[in-house]
């Protein structure tokens, strides 16, 4: 395998290692601290716009534009327990690297993903956005609450929870390094869990 192929996280997964798991667990522990809240309105608004834009792109099924918001080596994590245990020892609702996120997009685009044929129609409400500083100047953690109203099949249902985004300022651009989606009913049976959250 060439070095280039090795380094392309759309094609191979060298970055999901024990070191990454350890860092991820540490980054998503004890981060919502009052002494780290970012109070600057302009900065907070910048992150709120990022999260709202992400929600709009998903509502519009613009998956390629959506995934472009993420860093090349990203993690998308929906734990199956309320306090998000160790994903190395616990099945998650979803635990995706970039390639698997692209697998999901690919599957939805095949036309044979019966769980999304026809596709769900969604409206996402994002609120209570709080931004937290981290040990790294260029990295912020963002907490937001969400309600996803999803029409599929014969019902409109509401998926509820809160998300944690780890966002890195990279020049002029903000990249989402990791997103943790905490459904309030993550440890219960969920009907048709097949949209991006």
């Amino acid at each position: 395998m060439s070095i280039q192929a090795q380094s392309d996280p759309s094609k191979s997964s060298y970055y999901v290692s024990d070191a990454l798991y350890r860092e991820l667990i540490a980054n998503f522990s004890d981060w919502q601290r009052d002494d780290r809240v970012v109070t600057d309105v302009a900065e907070r608004d910048r992150f709120r716009m990022l999260i709202e834009r992400e929600a709009r792109l998903l509502d519009q099924l613009r998956y390629e534009d959506w995934i472009a918001l993420y860093a090349p080596e990203c993690i998308y994590w929906v734990p199956s327990t309320p306090n998000a245990g160790d994903p190395r020892r616990e099945i998650a609702v979803m635990f995706d690297d970039r390639r698997r996120l692209e697998d999901r997009i690919y599957r939805l685009r095949t036309g044979f993903a019966w769980s999304q044929a026809p596709a769900s129609r969604t409206v996402r409400l994002i609120s209570n956005v709080e931004v937290f500083a981290t040990d790294r100047d260029a990295v912020r953690m963002v907490r937001s609450n969400f309600l996803i109203s999803e029409f599929w099949g014969d019902e409109t249902r509401i998926l509820t929870g809160w998300a944690g985004h780890r966002v890195m300022q990279n020049g002029d651009r903000c990249e989402i390094q990791a997103k943790q989606v905490n459904l309030i009913d993550c440890d219960q049976c969920i009907r048709n869990p097949s949209i991006f959250l």
Binding site: M1, Q6, K11, S12, S13, Y14, Y15, V16, S17, D18, Y21, S80, T81, G85, P87, R88, R89, E90, I91, A92, V93, M94, F95, D96, D97, R99, R100, D103, R104, Y106, R107, L108, T110, F112, A113, W114, S115, A117, G153, D187, Q188, C189, I190, R191, N192, P193, S194
Partner: protein, 460 residues
């Protein structure tokens, strides 16, 4: 002009109008829509199937220590599965003997006793009543057994899998399982020490009858159609090295995989003969998962020739081992079907991890294998099961058509030399055959016709 199809007379009800003639409802090649849609049949199943035969309840690793408990259901009965203070595994009814309140509202925990939140009656985790508030207001003798919690009278384990039945006349569990124990043993014994530990689950519910999931459990016919999006996705980089279940794509019936019916509604689809018998054979078929390349490199560097044996432990075992009515081992999952109502079912995919039972793998390697194994297990529920349950829901919807009464299960029926009966009484057929379904419906009918003497038990 097309010929009009005459609509059949409504199925006859027997037993004073409460039940049906089961032989009319389920015939050799077809089943009536009512078995999936009639609430009265569902109610009958909750005693005659979930109750009268062995139902899977839990895995012993979920309650490893004395006083550990989890809450589960047997059919609609709420249960507390507990390892009591003496280490005995019991299935207590989660129901206060006073007013019927559930005693425990948590999914799991550790408790020596359960106190009813309503009036404070307190029970030991053996089920025995310990005390009630202000007993001087009662004239009765609370030492009478009727005040102790009801429990499932027969709870037996087979190598860690806990089953229960209310039927005193049921065969011992191991005899009931019969020849299906062989693939269960093989499924366990590929893991170090023959052990697995349950580690959370992918939990899915669907608006459809529970039997739609069991009918699907051994079905090799749906794979390339229901799972087309999965097969296309997992092969998007594969080239000539077909991944996952791609072997179903061309002439699946000519491949060495097969289905085997072993009696009592239990069946087994064995896809292992399609896999190369070599170290790494399983791993080579595994589709892309997070961390796959990193860990493969690490194992090759650290473990040399043994690397692919270890990686195979993270690969999905290509079997479906199904114990009627609610248990399935597939890949590395323990899948459990929970009926909720005639048209609603939970399908829970419990993940399993390995332990270093013989101490010859090492903590770091075991952790790495499990990290990979979590990700391989998340694949199918996310990319495959969602499409199956969408189809189950659409079957349930299709069966709302009252006049079009029958669904068919006759694939393979009547073709000479296709189905083979073996000395031990088991039946084998090609992987896409529906013989397993015809056979498990014979068991379903036997149970529905029977008049079992169901019983509960209380501590004396």
């Amino acid at each position: 002009m097309t010929r009009l199809e005459r609509i059949g007379a409504a199925p006859r009800r027997i037993d004073g109008g409460a039940l049906y003639d089961w032989d009319e409802l389920v015939q050799e090649e077809r089943a009536h829509r009512l078995i999936y849609t009639d609430p009265a049949i569902f109610t009958h199943e909750m005693t005659h199937v979930f109750g009268a035969t062995w139902t899977y309840l839990a895995h012993e690793s979920e309650i490893p220590n004395d006083n550990d408990f989890i809450t589960r259901r047997m059919g609609l009965r709420p249960l507390i599965i507990v390892r009591d203070s003496n280490g005995q595994i019991r299935a207590l009814y989660n129901r206060c003997t006073h007013r019927g309140t559930t005693l425990c509202r948590w999914d799991k925990g550790n408790a020596k006793s359960f106190q009813c939140p309503y009036h404070g009656w307190n029970f030991l985790n053996t089920g025995k009543l310990r005390g009630v508030p202000w007993p001087d207001g009662y004239a009765c003798d609370f030492r009478e057994a009727k005040y102790n919690i009801a429990q499932v009278p027969r709870v037996e384990s087979y190598r860690g899998f806990i089953f229960g039945t209310l039927n005193p006349d049921a065969l011992p569990l191991v005899e009931h399982l019969g020849p299906i124990t062989k693939p269960i043993d093989e499924w366990l014994d590929r893991n170090p020490g023959g052990k697995v530990v349950v580690c959370e689950a992918n939990r899915i519910k669907y608006k459809g009858n529970w039997k739609l999931a069991y009918d699907n459990s051994c079905d090799g016919y749906h794979v390339v159609y229901s799972h087309r999006s999965l097969l296309e996705t997992e092969n998007r980089f594969a080239g000539d090295n077909a991944k996952g279940m791609s072997y179903y794509r061309n002439s699946p019936d000519s491949l060495p995989m097969y289905m085997r019916y072993t009696g009592h509604g239990n069946h087994f689809k064995d896809k292992r003969p399609n896999v190369e018998k070599r170290s790494g054979g399983l791993w080579a078929m595994e589709s892309a998962h997070p961390g796959m390349e990193h860990y493969e490199e690490k194992f090759k560097q650290r473990h040399g020739e043994r690397a692919f044996d270890l990686l195979d432990l993270a690969g999905s075992e290509p079997v479906n081992i199904n114990v009627f009515p609610n248990f399935s081992l597939l890949g590395n999952h323990i899948q459990v079907f929970e009926p909720i109502s005639v048209g609603e079912t939970n399908a829970i995919w419990y993940g399993t991890m390995i332990v270093d039972a013989n101490g010859d793998i090492g903590e770091e390697a075991v952790n790495d294998i499990n990290a990979l194994r979590m990700r391989t297990q998340e694949g199918f529920p996310n990319f495959g099961e969602v499409d199956d349950v969408a189809n189950f829901e659409q079957i349930q919807r299709g069966l709302d058509a009252l006049e079009d009464e029958w669904v068919y299960m006759h694939r393979g029926l009547g073709i000479p030399d296709r189905i083979k009966t073996h000395e031990d009484g088991s039946i084998t057929a090609p992987a896409t055959d529906e013989a397993f379904m015809r056979e498990h419906f014979k068991e379903w009918k036997r149970l529905m016709k029977a008049r079992p003497n169901l019983a509960i038990q209380r501590e004396p």
